[in-house]
Symmetry: C2
Subunit: 193 residues, 2 copies
DNA sequence: CTCCTATGCAAGTAGTTACTTACATGCTAC
DNA sequence: GTAGCATGTAAGTAACTACTTGCATAGGAG
């Protein structure tokens, strides 16, 4: 059995349990059991429980995939572009969902997680502001507070993400894609002069 | 010392600690210390730790204050009404902020908290759909998927709330009121035919 | 074959947790 | 003034926690 597989199994188990129950309630024994590993193996790999968390945080440190894909294939048609941005954001957030949930639960005890997560909207905001300014320059959107507009689109998408990730279909059974498309359509129209 | 005051101090302390650290990490001893009460007093009042949580959940069970204020003073001017709805929603969420945070952290272990919190957007959604239909009937907004539109406004406002409640001014220093006004202005314009 | 590394297994430790019991004390209502 | 109720204090318990140590074993690399 290679080290890599074992360490990865432990990380996966920890990610799942900590995101579900929180850091304190996710015991090393439970993590070991889920990873099908002896409890000592965790300590041999990561030193202590906090070392395991730190490894997870490092693994999820923001990679600029969202920024990168946002800059590709810009059509300079407002609704088309914003829809693509929003869908990509949603998919990206879903892919790091467990990590986001850990961030929600442990931000007070491990502030560095919070800083890592705050990075996502910050970079997204800057990209959007840049895009809006360019669009205004092209005369395709009206004059508004671009930062407020960017934050609004982010809030909108974050809201959709949390609603689906946390409440599932309790609030609505509308397909996510349809929801995002409709909301972006309304938002785009509101920006057009 | 009256019973009421003591129980309330315990509840306040528990609310603070559980919302900060989570249920498991908030020990009964720490709660007792913060409430300036002997640890046994907690058990005499609430039986056990879970009883304390249940008392908190009961206390925050949805009261229809948001629904009520939404129905008052409707002007049937889209931007005016949506701004008021949004501001009221934001203030209401801020007032139950600690409880919302507990809901985020403990939803897996105590599903009934989740159900309680999902109630807020559900009722808000119904009120909004009703309002949108009426507005459409009056010819003041165009034909859209009203449910999607309602969910979008909720997502938008929830996003603003979480951003401020969780990240503070890391992402932006724009005043909340200005942010809400701008986002509602864009959204309203997008709904107008 | 023979190291070496990763892992399992067994046993244990010191600290913490939720919770209990028994008894003392002080305030309030009658 | 005394009976009763809410609270404090002290001591303890059983279970669980993160973490350690020593030894056995299996598989791969040289």
């Amino acid at each position: 059995m290679a080290t890599k597989e074992t360490a990865q199994r432990i990380i996966d188990a920890a990610l799942q349990l900590i995101s579900e129950k929180g850091y304190t309630a996710a015991t090393t024994k439970a993590i070991a059991d889920l990873a099908q590993v002896n409890e000592v193996t965790i300590f041999r790999h990561f030193g202590n429980k906090e070392g395991l968390l730190k490894t997870i945080v490092d693994k999820f440190s923001y990679n600029p995939i969202l920024q990168k894909t946002m800059r590709e294939e810009v059509t300079w048609d407002l609704e088309t572009d914003l829809t693509r941005f929003s869908m990509q954001y949603f998919e990206y957030m879903m892919s790091i969902k467990d990590f986001v949930m850990i961030g929600f639960k442990e931000s007070m005890q491990f502030p560095e997680i919070n800083a890592e997560i705050a990075n996502v909207p910050l970079l997204f905001k800057n990209e959007l502001i840049h895009y809006f300014k360019e669009m205004h320059h092209k005369g395709k959107i009206r004059e508004v507070n671009f930062e407020a507009a960017a934050l609004s689109l982010i809030a909108l998408n974050f809201g959709h993400f949390i609603s689906r990730a946390r409440l599932g279909t309790i609030v609505s059974t509308l397909p996510t894609e349809e929801l995002i498309k409709t909301s972006v359509a309304i938002f785009s129209r509101g920006l057009t002069s």
